[in-house]
């Protein structure tokens, strides 16, 4: 790296980083497939039409308290008529994790689409991030739940 001029570049870079690209309207953000073979596609508006839940917490991946808004996992599962069982969540980089439907409690994990009122770009780990209320419940501060806190979520495979 070039030594001279690093600082101004850093500042510029940081500023630019905050721009990123957010999901466009109508663009599919989440695909929900069922074990019965069904598939539902959601764009951001469709998700925002569902009941809104909010989590106010700090996380290990961020700095300071964040306010996440989204649809609670419970609401989403109910909306798609999922049954008891295990959900498989898949991320943009092919990261994959199983989440038991028993996790979907109220209050409980939320499929967040807003962080501090802003949509999240991929660089921000958006557009969708499954957030648990870490500060409210010490049980969520374990690696098991960190592992379930999937970001850059693109697909949910639910039992039906």
């Amino acid at each position: 790296m070039r030594a001279i001029g690093r600082v101004p570049i850093l500042v510029a870079g940081l500023l630019l980083a905050s721009v990123g690209q957010v999901a466009k309207a109508g663009e599919e953000v989440l695909a929900v497939t069922g074990s019965d073979g069904s598939a539902i596609s959601f764009d951001l508006d469709a998700l925002r039409a569902l009941p809104v839940s909010e989590i106010r917490t700090s996380t290990i991946w961020t700095d300071g308290i964040q306010v996440f808004q989204g649809v609670s996992l419970r609401d989403l599962l109910d909306h798609v008529d999922a049954v008891e069982g295990t959900i498989t969540a898949v991320a943009l980089n092919d990261y994959l994790i199983d989440i038991p439907t028993s996790d979907a409690t109220r209050p409980g994990p939320v499929v967040a689409y807003l962080r501090n009122g802003e949509q999240m770009s991929v660089r921000d780990k958006g557009p969708l991030w499954i957030i648990y209320p870490y500060d409210d419940n010490p049980d969520y501060n374990t690696e098991e739940y960190y592992a379930r806190s999937i970001w850059q979520l693109i697909r949910l495979e639910v039992p039906k």
């Binding site: 790296m1 070039r2 690093r6 570049i9 850093l10 510029a12 870079g13 940081l14 630019l16 980083a17 721009v19 990123g20 690209q21 700090s58 996380t59 290990i60 991946w61 961020t62 700095d63 943009l92 980089n93 770009s121 991929v122 660089r123 921000d124 780990k125 010490p138 501060n141 374990t142 690696e143 960190y146 970001w151 850059q152």
Partner: protein, 814 residues
């Protein structure tokens, strides 16, 4: 243990915290994220290369891959997970280069497609350069996080270990405490059981106590009321419990004091009654009857209250008994006193006429009497003296009983005293055909410390009895010092009538005589043995008797007679001859109410050559003393009207010529208190009735003539001083006995030269022993011609016998 608990709690909390930290410390996440960072960078690198060589679709892929990588970098650059890592300088360095890479690559990626396509090689190059740096960063962070994780784990395990130990310690402590508690529990059980036992014993004791037991609280209400109280006061227990005690059992006139006392106690905690031992008060029964009680109160503290516990006893009977006893004692004392007084008065009354009789005999004997008269006079004297002896015995007995006689101890030679005694009784013994002998068993006790007079009296009594009850027999007196060097035993045995077994117990009793043939002929008062026993007891000794009827008796006296030291006996009064001369011309005033005694005194004093004035009572005496001066006053004590003491006091008080004159009291009783009274009244001496001329002369001489009488008595005194009183008396006795023998011979034979020689020999003794009269008489006999003897024999022998009798009297001493 508290320390352990605290420590355990502390450790527990620490453990929890650390475990918490462990659970929340997403150390695995740190490593996972770093490795994912590397992976994403490699994918980015691969995408960059593909895009350089490929088409449009690949560019989109490249952008996505960059975004994904970028999003991961934000975690290490900003995420809370790497807060600690970012502190480490090595990490900071590498982060800087990462930031630099991002700063340079972001503008390229974000540029429009054509520009991006152009700059792809540049981007690829940047990525290539970044790769090892990112790896480096990842490794650095992984290493530091690993260390941190290990440290954490160690700390946790250490904490857990300590926790385990402290919990163990706690368990041990708990076990010990549990054991202690168990032991405490057991012992408290034991204590409790004991207390139960004591309590039930106490309750039983109170219940069955004969005395009344009351328990009362500080307000005065009855808490306990036992069976004894029920019986004593007449209330049943149920009636009495809870009631105020003062209403129930305290008589009305005591209630105010009781309430006062209770109030004082409640306020000050003091009491005149509690814990003060036995008190006598009065109680009241249910019937209202007031009766005397004895009570004792004490305070007891139970767990929550103070109570008074009192024991009461109905002493009505006891008081009555006490009163009865007191009465009986007073009556008995009065009776005893009356008896003593009676005896004293009686003896005085009896001694006074006896005085008269014996005194007259004294005077008669001084004259020449015919043989018949001599015999008669002797008979009268014997009877009179016997009567006097009996009266004295009665008086002695009453005095002994009331403890009035003193028994001072003096040193005296035992064996000579005993021998003298037996010698004096030999004649009487031989008269009845008895042989009397004295034997010493063991060593000669020498001089002993004891009461000579009492011992003599006792021995004379016993020997006299032995002689009296034995005819033609053997009487023996044995003297023996016992082993312990303190006691001496006198054994008087006889072969006489003996004492029947049934009477042995009684012989020492007063007025007991045994009904034997002898006793009927010779009645006695039965006082002899009684007096003897009292004498022996008074000397601290014992007396025993053994006897077999018709065979004989043995009387045994054991006395403490410790060895004493011979003492100069020059102070003892000896009886000298009546010396008429020196008293000639002395003026004597006699104040005596009894005619005979007055007459006697007159005669005696005129014999001495005194000038006598008589007064018939105290008044005449005082009047006589006022008018003329006398050399001596003789005053009878017991006169009616004004007694002797009063008379003398008045005379002394008078401003007359007889204020300082010497006075002698004449009395029948001489006790110590009497002597003191005489001295207090102003008397210089006293004479006890019956008075003999010898006593009178001595007293007079002593008071009036000191210097002259000395000369005559000094010879005798000299002898006594040299050889002791015992020897003196022994010699006198010897001389008298020898002269008696001479008398008998003189009566029957001629006055031969042989006889004269014997007379001469005894005359010498008489001189040395200070018997001047006897001496001159013997000289007279010696000087008489044999021719004249028959004519003068009668008179001289009579005088000799009189003289000898007097000398014998002196030789027998007290």
């Amino acid at each position: 243990m508290l320390v352990l608990i605290g420590y355990s709690a502390l450790l527990g909390r620490e453990a929890m915290v650390r475990l918490d930290t462990l659970s929340t410390a997403a150390s695995d996440d740190i490593r996972w994220n770093m490795s994912q960072l590397e992976v994403e960078l490699l994918r980015l690198q691969s995408a960059a290369l593909k895009a350089r060589d490929g088409g449009q679709g690949d560019i989109q892929q490249l952008r996505t891959r960059f975004d994904i990588f970028y999003s991961r970098t934000q975690i290490v650059l900003r995420g809370a997970l790497y807060d600690q890592a970012r502190e480490i300088p090595e990490v900071q360095e590498r982060l800087q280069s990462l930031r630099a890479f991002l700063a340079e690559s972001v503008p390229i990626i974000d540029a429009p497609e054509p520009i991006l396509a152009d700059r792809l090689p540049e981007l690829a190059h940047l990525v290539e350069q970044a790769s090892p740096e990112v790896r480096d960063l990842a490794l650095t962070i992984v290493n530091t996080s690993a260390r941190a994780a290990d440290t954490q784990r160690l700390k946790v395990s250490e904490t857990l270990r300590r926790l385990a130990l402290s919990v163990l310690g706690l368990l041990v402590a708990l076990t010990i405490v549990a054991l202690l508690l168990l032991r405490l529990y057991r012992s408290s059980q034991v204590v409790s059981a004991e207390k139960e036992a004591v309590k039930s014993r106490f309750e039983a004791a109170v219940k069955s106590a004969l005395d009344a037991v009351l328990v009362v609280d500080t307000e005065g209400h009855i808490i306990e009321f036992n069976g004894g109280a029920e019986a004593m006061f007449g209330y049943s227990r149920s009636e009495a419990l809870g009631q105020p005690m003062s209403d129930l059992i305290i008589p009305p006139h005591y209630r105010a004091r009781h309430e006062e006392g209770m109030r004082r106690f409640r306020e000050h905690g003091t009491s005149r009654v509690v814990g003060r031992g036995h008190l006598r008060l009065e109680g009241m029964r249910k019937s209202g009857e007031v009766f005397p009680i004895e009570l004792s109160i004490s305070l007891a503290e139970t767990s929550d209250q103070l109570v008074f516990i009192s024991f009461l006893r109905d002493i009505t009977n006891r008081l009555k008994t006490e009163d009865d006893l007191r009465e009986a004692r007073d009556t008995a004392q009065a009776g005893a006193q009356a008896k003593a007084q009676l005896l004293t008065v009686m003896s005085h009354e009896m001694r006074t006429p006896l005085n008269g009789i014996l005194g007259s005999l004294d005077l008669m004997e001084r004259d020449e009497l015919s043989p018949k008269q001599v015999r008669l006079v002797r008979a009268i004297r014997v009877s009179g003296e016997l009567l006097l002896t009996q009266v004295n015995r009665v008086l002695d007995l009453s005095r002994l009983e009331s403890g009035m006689i003193e028994f001072p101890k003096e040193p005296f030679a035992l064996l000579p005293m005993v021998r003298r005694l037996t010698e004096s009784l030999t004649a009487a013994a031989e008269e009845r055909g008895n042989r009397l002998q004295t034997t010493l068993v063991g060593d000669d006790p020498g001089v002993v410390l004891g009461n000579r007079i009492a011992l003599q009296q006792a021995l004379v009594n016993l020997l006299g009895n032995a002689i009296k009850f034995t005819r033609n027999g053997e009487i023996s007196l044995e003297v023996e010092r016992l082993n312990d060097d303190r006691m001496i035993e006198f054994r008087i045995s006889d072969t006489g009538l003996g004492i029947p077994a049934k009477d042995i117990e009684r012989i020492f009793d007063e007025f007991v005589t045994i009904d034997t043939a002898y006793a009927r002929e010779n009645p006695g008062t039965g006082l002899g043995l009684s007096i003897t026993r009292r004498l022996v007891w008074a000397m601290g000794g014992e007396i025993e008797v053994e006897s077999i009827e018709h065979e004989g008796s043995l009387f045994l006296i054991r006395l403490p007679l410790e060895p004493g030291e011979a003492v100069e006996l020059a102070s003892e009064k000896e009886r000298g001859q009546p010396e008429p001369g020196p008293l000639k011309g002395k003026r004597v005033l006699v104040i005596e109410d009894n005619d005979i005694n007055r007459m006697l005194l007159l005669d005696m004093l005129e014999e001495f050559g005194c000038q006598v004035v008589l007064a018939r009572d105290g008044f005449e005496g005082v009047a006589a003393a006022k008018s003329a001066r006398y050399d001596l006053l003789l005053v009878d004590i017991s006169m009616p009207g004004k007694d002797g003491l009063e008379t003398l006091r008045e005379i002394r008080a008078q401003e007359g010529p007889n204020g300082p004159v010497r006075a002698i009291a004449i009395t029948a009783n001489v006790r110590d208190e009497d002597k003191e009274r005489f001295a207090a009244a102003g008397f210089d001496g006293f004479l006890a009735k019956p008075i003999s001329m010898l006593q009178l002369q001595e007293m007079l001489s002593g008071l009036l003539l000191r210097p002259e009488a000395e000369a005559e008595r000094s010879t005798a005194r000299e002898f006594i001083r040299r050889f002791g009183m015992a020897e003196y008396q022994r010699h006198l006795l010897g001389m008298v006995d020898a002269l008696h023998a001479v008398c008998d011979d003189l009566a029957n034979t001629e006055l031969s030269e042989t006889l004269k020689a014997r007379v001469h020999e005894q005359a010498g003794s008489a001189a040395i022993l200070g018997r001047a009269d006897l001496h001159s008489l013997l000289q007279e006999i010696e000087a008489t011609d044999a021719a004249d003897w028959p004519a003068r024999r009668g008179g001289m022998l009579d005088r000799l016998k009189t003289e000898l009798a007097r000398t014998r009297a002196v030789s027998l001493g007290g």
